[in-house]
């Protein structure tokens, strides 16, 4: 039990650009946006950019999957004198929250003192993420997937959602509630892209992009950048804000999930899941906590159905009971004191409504909740969960604690 590095490191700075609809950030460049997010995160932490000496990326240091982050380029343009740590979690967005654990590895190994995690995303017309799967000629592995016409992540996940509906009686009403609840959280957020109330009729009139999922079950496609700074808890004392202690951090998963919806070889119960159970179990073992101890949960929501399956895998409800749990109103901020077992989910509106910067808005919101500066602030927020993925392994999770 326990984790040797628990509470030894903390997130002390967060920074973000404006969020733009896909393609609208041009003529800004990817390093322009990444630089703004990093500089703002340093200012937020109360450190100089010259103090930064580490980089902990995820998504294989991919920026929007097609551009690449290069530590040397960022040093060159931002004036970072030296680095002692430059590493990335593999695969895609699944590592978003887990990058804080990678930063902890660099800090605890004394490779660096202030570590940056950054994601910038810019989807120019020729760089569209949602059709990345369909655009390229399939390699031998993808030749067993792409000819089926499952051309993007949402198409792939619709197949998992269908199996969940079949096995557990999950209904589209639950997906609608996830979209509407998190939309409600976005209404008072000035940077949110989708910030108008969502009525039932509007949801039910959306085109079905991949039945059982409609357009609003798919996340936004946005441009922008988010960065955070991790340092030791000792150094955090000199930073501007109260630290968000890294209380638990894990990435990974099991072979039964593996390449997941890029593979479709999963069996029950993994097929109709988020692939997060392994990481969830590690987090609870590291911390001795359970889902019900979380003050809020920032759940990676590229597709509504995957929020429901993560809620099950993290134990907010039993496996197969996500439908009823969500429909009880338990994920709404407004219901936090009135619905039994309620834990507000995506108090920032999430990828579905605020912006999609491949999971880093979730970490930023978790930090704000712990500091007590969130727009939809939870009273006495002690523990905040954020997650990355469902995706090909690794997926990841992070628990932040108030000092």
């Amino acid at each position: 039990m326990g984790w040797a590095h628990q509470d030894k490191t903390a997130i002390v700075g967060i920074g973000a650009t404006d969020y733009y609809l896909r393609g609208k950030s041009w003529p800004r460049t990817i390093n322009d946006m990444a630089g703004e997010a990093i500089l703002k995160a340093c200012a937020d932490a109360g450190i100089s950019i010259k103090d930064v000496d580490g980089f902990a990326y995820y998504s294989t240091a991919g920026a929007g999957y097609l551009d690449k982050f290069d530590t040397a380029s960022l040093m060159e343009t931002l004036g970072i004198p030296h680095v002692g740590f430059s590493a990335t979690l593999t695969s895609g967005g699944g590592g978003a929250s887990g990058a804080a654990g990678l930063a902890t590895a660099g800090l605890m190994n004394e490779d660096c003192k202030y570590c940056v995690t950054v994601m910038a995303l810019q989807q120019l017309p020729q760089h569209r993420l949602g059709v990345v799967v369909g655009a390229a000629a399939p390699n031998p592995e993808n030749s067993f997937l792409q000819p089926s016409g499952l051309v993007g992540p949402g198409y792939l996940m619709s197949v998992l959602a269908r199996r969940h509906m079949h096995l557990y009686g999950t209904r589209r009403e639950a997906f609608k509630e996830i979209v509407q609840a998190t939309r409600e959280h976005a209404l008072n957020r000035p940077k949110a892209i989708r910030n108008k109330p969502l009525e039932d009729e509007e949801y039910w009139s959306q085109p079905m992009l991949a039945d059982p999922l409609c357009r609003l079950d798919f996340c936004l496609e946005t441009d922008g950048a988010v960065a955070f700074i991790t340092t030791t808890t000792e150094r955090a004392k000199d930073c501007k804000h109260p630290p968000a202690l890294i209380h638990g951090a894990a990435h990974g998963g099991t072979r039964n999930w593996g390449r997941a919806f890029a593979w479709m070889g999963m069996q029950d119960p993994d097929f109709a899941s988020s692939g997060h159970k392994f990481v969830a179990d590690r987090l609870w073992e590291q911390t001795g906590l359970t889902a019900k101890d979380m003050s809020c949960a920032q759940i990676y929501d590229h597709f509504s159905c995957m929020v429901l399956m993560q809620l099950e895998d993290y134990g907010f409800c039993e496996k197969g009971e996500g439908n009823d749990y969500v429909l009880s109103g338990a994920i709404r901020y407004a219901n936090r004191d009135t619905v039994e077992g309620a834990v507000p989910v995506n108090t920032h509106g999430g990828n579905l409504n605020e912006a999609y910067i491949i999971g880093l808005t979730h970490v930023a919101e978790a930090v704000e909740q712990i500091r007590g500066t969130a727009i939809n602030q939870i009273e006495d927020c002690e523990f905040a969960l954020s997650t990355g993925g469902p995706a090909s392994l690794p997926v990841s999770g992070l628990i932040l604690r108030r000092a």
Binding site: N139, P147, W204
Partner: protein, 148 residues
């Protein structure tokens, strides 16, 4: 506006073969060569008998690299599916059903394919399906499915 809970999709078709390309490598080529001869196979471990798809160099159960390519019955069960309405190549209206099929004659191996020959509205998880053959680019042939 249409209530998307009551959509009627109508007939499902496999995607047009002339827009589908595949590539192969030495691990996967036997699957495609057999498909060209209209035989459905899957990669089976020649030592422990476990099936794995897509074909890969090692058996995940026993790490053997010995493969066999048995002729399967060509039938299976719908494990899950989606209903899509736009041709991914050109965005035109086109109803197709991507399907994950659990292959008969294996220990639960999945093949991702299209299901045609019926209305998309009638597809159900658990329905029995049989293989059909869709000629694609470069003289390859893609296994697709219809109701059995």
């Amino acid at each position: 506006m249409t209530d998307n809970r009551n959509i009627s999709y109508g007939p499902a078709n496999a995607l047009p073969g002339d827009q589908i390309a595949i590539t192969t490598n030495p691990d996967t080529e036997p699957f495609w060569e057999k498909a060209k001869a209209r035989t459905l196979t899957a990669c089976q471990c020649a030592d422990c008998g476990h099936f794995r798809m897509p074909p890969s160099p090692y058996c995940p159960e026993c790490q053997s690299s010995n493969k066999s390519w048995p002729e399967l019955p060509g039938t299976g069960t719908v494990f899950s599916f989606a209903i899509c309405t736009r041709n991914p190549k050109n965005g035109e209206d086109y109803v197709y059903v991507p399907v994950v099929v659990e292959l008969d004659g294996t220990d639960g191996a999945h093949l991702v394919s299209n299901l045609g020959g019926c209305d998309a509205d009638d597809v159900e998880i658990g329905m029995k399906v049989a293989v059909d053959w869709n000629p694609i680019k470069d003289d390859w042939v893609l296994p697709v499915f219809r109701p059995a």
